[in-house]
């Protein structure tokens, strides 16, 4: 490939050698896959579907504890030496994270995966620079949650009502947070708060604070599980009343910037998860269409059904490709906000469409609470908001 073109008429042209794409999803780590599968098999009590559906309280702490104890979180965290095939630790870790999120998208209607993603890709990641906390987070002995959104605040985080305060020489934070993933189970809270009085730095604007709910009184930090139609039991609202601040992760004026950098990662990994959820729903729909009989034949004998499933499978394949490219770009450090927004937007549209069509294919059974498509649709509405709404994603894409 490095030699030159020799035909008479064509000019000399060096063609580059074939690039073997070092993609995180290529050559998956079989050992890690086996460990995840073994974990799922070993913990039926944690991963039973009905424990993740209302009115049960989902065993989030137990799950994260068990995952941590099994070393599955730490193995999906970038650290250590390059892999035997020369892949970077980051590449190895994200490859395993893809495997983890993909596997969990198929467990208990995908619900446990929501808690895992929040722990690993949101909370822990935002604490990357705090090695003293990382151990507990990766061991699963400490749980963490990001509290940015406010009641009815939507995507607009520029007008926060949560405020940094000062009580003697300790910093405090006061305000309401809402629709916060893993909040009912969080030891640590990352809180975005306005700092008009410059308690955290020389500037004003949003700061990112760390609050340890274990060190706060029930009055200082009050968490209420939200009765959401999606992510059942997983989200909560938080009241902070002069809650003590453990650390300032980003001073005033830096909080949003920190989150914006973070969201690139979160949105790509959310896309990985949402695509895997869509695939799981689609697989279930295919299997249902093989078995469900209408007018004396399996549903799948209908051309309408086959075409619809084909169309959906093409779309899932498309968004999965985009997601994996996103992970590659994360590995290389070159993922833009616009690219991540594109992924998130596409996955959000995809998941709801696949779930909605799968409900339709399943007929009355699809309307049953806990049918995989039904759960996915409910969760899908929440995921269309999580990490930024569709509309915010479109604005990001527009900006490029």
């Amino acid at each position: 490939m490095t030699d030159t073109v020799s035909t008479a008429t064509a000019p000399q042209r060096d063609l580059a050698p074939l690039v073997t794409r070092r993609e995180p999803a290529a050559n998956p780590d079989q050992d890690y896959a086996d460990r995840v599968a073994a974990f799922v098999a070993a913990h039926p009590e944690l991963l039973a579907t009905d424990r993740w559906e209302d009115p049960a309280v989902p065993p989030v702490r137990e799950l994260i504890g068990a995952l941590g104890a099994a070393g599955l979180l730490r193995a999906a965290w970038p650290a250590g030496t390059p892999g035997p095939d020369g892949r970077s630790p980051r590449c190895l870790a994200l490859g395993r994270a893809i495997q983890l999120h993909t596997a969990f998208a198929q467990v208990a209607n995908g619900a446990p995966g929501a808690a895992v993603l929040t722990q690993l890709e949101v909370g822990t990641r935002l604490l990357t620079g705090h090695p003293e906390l990382l151990d507990g987070l990766l061991d699963g002995t400490v749980t963490v949650s990001l509290a940015a959104t406010e009641p009815d605040g939507g995507s607009d985080l520029s007008t926060l009502t949560t405020r940094v305060g000062r009580d003697g020489d300790r910093l405090t934070v006061t305000g309401e947070k809402w629709f916060i993933s893993n909040a009912p189970f969080a030891d640590l809270l990352l809180v975005l708060a306005d700092d008009p009085d410059r308690h955290t730095g020389p500037r004003t604007g949003p700061a990112l604070l760390l609050v340890d709910t274990r060190q706060a009184t029930a009055d200082e930090v009050e968490v209420t599980a939200l009765a959401g139609s999606g992510h059942t039991g997983l989200t909560g609202s938080i009241s902070l009343r002069s809650a003590p601040v453990l650390a300032v992760l980003a001073p005033a004026g830096q909080g949003l910037l920190t989150l914006m950098r973070h969201w690139i990662h979160e949105r790509v990994m959310l896309t990985v998860r949402m695509t895997a959820l869509a695939q799981a729903v689609l697989d279930d729909a295919v299997s249902g269409a093989r078995h469900r009989q209408t007018f004396g034949s399996p549903l799948l004998t209908n051309q309408h059904v086959r075409f619809l499933l084909a169309e959906l499978s093409a779309e899932v394949a498309e968004v999965r490709s985009a997601a994996l490219q996103g992970v590659r770009l994360l590995v290389e450090g070159g993922c833009t906000a616009a690219y991540a927004a594109m992924c998130k937007y596409r996955a959000s549209v995809l998941l709801r469409r696949v779930a909605d069509e799968a409900i339709q294919l399943a007929g009355a059974d699809g309307y049953r609470t806990g049918h995989p498509a039904e759960r996915a649709l409910r969760d899908g509405f929440g995921l269309a908001l999580a990490g930024g709404t569709d509309e915010l994603m479109l604005m990001q894409i527009e900006r490029g």
Binding site: T149, D152, D156, Y367, T369, L377, F381, G382
Partner: protein, 390 residues
């Protein structure tokens, strides 16, 4: 955007508009305030609601006065359906529709005097609750494939079989049941029976569902050798399926009117909310993307509504309304689903709470495309009526 609405566009008489105003006021005062509580409890006092409607004279408006109706037209039932669509719970809307527009019409049109006295009259005063037991495990939209069997015996039938997904089944005093005759084949081998709840009838609550959580949905209604006297048969011996299918053609138009009224209400409420909500310094409703999304859906709702009215006009005028019925059922079900989905999303995180009206509306509205003639069934019907399946 009310100028686009079906009201005040010449389809309804002043008396019908008066009817609408009275009924809407009644529902707003007597029903809507209780809905959050009923939804939280997972059931609603259908008997009480029906009694209120019966006392107001709002039930069975189109049925002959000698049967306990008001001698009106299908237009009054459109008004009724549209008023039900104004309620924030379709558990209420659907249950009342089953009672007033799915089962009652069959008795009014094909019932014996005894059946009218026994079932229809008390149903129209609201003392008696009617439900429709038509689906079966494994049969889905394929109504003709019922396996419930009515064995002719002296003076009636012995009914045995199992029905599922019966809306209002937990509340009902009687069920309209489609059953096949033993050994019968083809379209003329069924009977349609009115079966009072009683010995041999077992009603089991259903698994929880996405929506319709207060509709008293029975997961199964089992009939074990229930004797049904001949006089409770609707339509002729062997003509049960035909009678049922004909009724479907009418009830689908009425369902479409309710679905479109729901979509109408959601669009209006969502716009109101977005006009008030500020994000990035401006009301969300002032953003052209959001605004146009709502306007596009508004256009679809309004044009589909004209199709519904056209179907009613044909029905009342004695013309063929079968295609229009299937078309508007398809269009309205999809629209209700799309509108409810868009509106839920536009409600943001607040809409994520199960108890929020936007959330409930979405969960309830998703059923239209599945029940009372799925979208696929409607497309099949349209193709068949057009003669494309030769």
């Amino acid at each position: 955007m009310t100028v686009l609405q079906g009201v005040r566009t010449g389809w309804f008489t002043p008396a019908q508009e008066e009817l609408r105003a009275g009924l809407a006021a009644h529902l707003a005062a007597e029903v809507e305030p209780h809905i959050p509580g009923w939804e939280a409890a997972g059931r609603f006092p259908v008997r009480e609601v029906l009694a209120g409607l019966g006392a107001g004279g709002w039930l069975g408006l189109r049925f002959p006065r000698e049967h306990g109706g008001a001698g009106g037209s299908a237009w009054e039932h459109v008004v009724f359906a549209e008023c039900l669509g104004g309620l924030s719970s379709d558990s209420v809307g659907m249950t009342l529709t089953v009672h007033n527009d799915m089962v009652a019409p069959m008795i009014a049109e094909g019932g014996t005097p005894a059946a009218v006295d026994r079932f229809l009259r008390p149903a129209l005063t609201g003392e008696y609750v009617l439900a429709h037991a038509v689906s079966e495990p494994g049969a889905g939209s394929d109504v003709a494939a019922v396996t419930s069997t009515a064995t002719p015996v002296d003076g009636g039938y012995l009914l045995t079989g199992s029905k599922r997904w019966v809306v209002g089944g937990l509340y009902a005093d009687a069920f309209a049941v489609l059953a096949r005759l033993p050994e019968a084949r083809g379209p003329f081998g069924h009977v349609l029976l009115m079966v009072p709840f009683g010995e041999g009838v077992t009603v089991t609550a259903g698994a929880p569902t996405l929506g319709l959580r207060a509709a008293g949905v029975a997961g199964t209604v089992d009939f074990d050798r229930v004797f049904v006297p001949t006089e409770y048969r609707i339509g002729g011996h062997g003509l049960g399926l035909v009678t049922q299918l004909r009724q479907f053609e009418q009830e689908r138009i009425i369902s479409a009117c309710r679905a479109l009224a729901i979509a109408d209400r959601l669009l209006e409420r969502t716009r109101e909310r977005l006009d008030q909500r500020i994000s990035f310094g401006a009301p969300i409703g002032s953003r052209q993307d959001v605004s146009f999304r709502l306007s596009r859906l508004r256009a679809e709702v309004e044009s589909a509504r004209q199709l519904a009215y056209t179907a009613i006009d044909r029905w009342e005028g004695g013309a063929d309304y079968r295609s229009a019925s299937a078309a508007v059922k398809l269009r309205s079900s999809r629209l209700a689903r799309t509108v409810a989905r868009e509106c839920l999303h536009l409600h943001g995180a607040a809409g994520q709470l199960t108890e929020s009206p936007a959330n409930r509306a979405f969960r309830d509205a998703r059923l239209f495309s599945i029940s009372t003639g799925s979208d696929e069934m409607m497309m099949t019907t349209l193709a068949r009526l057009a003669g494309w399946d030769d």
